[in-house]
């Protein structure tokens, strides 16, 4: 369901209108996030929140690092 990708692919997807979702806590998001990212903390990943995303565009989800 999820495809693991790297930085270069993220940039390509952004260039093609992908939505970017940061799943970290609010303070982390406020400090710095990828351009245009929306904030959707992991513990709020409900169907209702997911419906805020455009299903017709690719979605890139990211966290802090790969640990």
């Amino acid at each position: 369901m999820f495809e693991s990708i790297g930085r270069i692919r993220v940039r390509q997807l952004l260039d093609h209108g992908a939505q970017v979702v940061e799943v970290l806590e609010r303070q982390q998001f406020r400090l710095a996030h990828l351009p245009g990212a929306v904030h959707l903390p992991a513990w709020e990943l409900t169907r209702a929140r997911a419906d805020e995303l455009d299903r017709d565009r690719p979605v890139v989800v990211y966290c802090f690092d790969n640990l």
Binding site: R26, Y62, F64, N66
Partner: protein, 208 residues
């Protein structure tokens, strides 16, 4: 759906743009530096240096990995065919573009070389020392930008003890917990608005 597995740290370590309140970052103000390949000679370096100004040259390996620096003084009196490897000064530690300008300024400023996570040279960022070179700011960060963990843990223990004393084994609802913490913060001298903001930052329940 895609999972950017290396996450925000990887993005910022390569100096890619971000939005938010924590900038500016060194990556935002990197300027190019003159370079010369490590396989070249002193004669090559002199040629490059003539157009490089006072900053000297950064000596790079293939793939742009910074290995050292040379300036006019280091080349003085050296035969033209001397390998640069013999005269370079090893590059000091480099910094990532994701480091904040403020943290470098608070650490005394400087002109560090900036490299990405793979060690590739991005350029140099010049940062003036902050005027107020104190230890900690008001958010519990020291001048290296790290969190004051001891203070945080002590505060957390104190809050947990107070919650246990107030509610015992009964588990408070999110609203009850928020009201209790709000009351406690105000009693400690914060304004009601400050307390609201802090609880919102901490994602304490009941804040909407």
């Amino acid at each position: 759906m895609y999972d950017y597995v290396d996450g925000k740290v990887d993005w910022m370590a390569f100096g890619l743009p971000v939005e938010g309140q924590d900038g500016p970052f060194l990556g935002d103000q990197v300027t190019p530096v003159a370079t010369c390949a490590v396989t070249h000679t002193v004669a090559d370096a002199r040629r490059e240096l003539s157009g490089a100004g006072d900053d000297g040259l950064v000596i790079v390996q293939a793939e742009g990995l910074a290995v050292g620096e040379v300036d006019a003084e280091a080349l003085e009196g050296r035969p033209d065919d001397t390998a640069l490897l013999e005269v370079l000064r090893p590059v000091p530690s480099t910094v990532r573009p994701s480091v904040t300008v403020a943290s470098v300024a608070e650490g005394g400023g400087g002109s560090p070389l900036v490299t990405d996570s793979d060690g590739r040279l991005l350029g140099r960022a010049t940062v003036e020392a902050a005027h107020d070179h104190e230890g900690c700011d008001h958010e519990g960060h020291d001048h290296e930008g790290s969190v004051d963990l001891e203070g945080y843990e002590a505060e957390l223990s104190s809050v947990l003890a107070a919650v246990e004393e107030r509610f015992g084994e009964e588990e408070p609802s999110a609203e009850e917990l928020r009201a209790f913490l709000h009351e406690r913060l105000v009693a400690e001298g914060r304004s009601a608005e400050d307390a609201d903001r802090l609880l919102e930052d901490l994602d304490v329940g009941g804040s909407g």
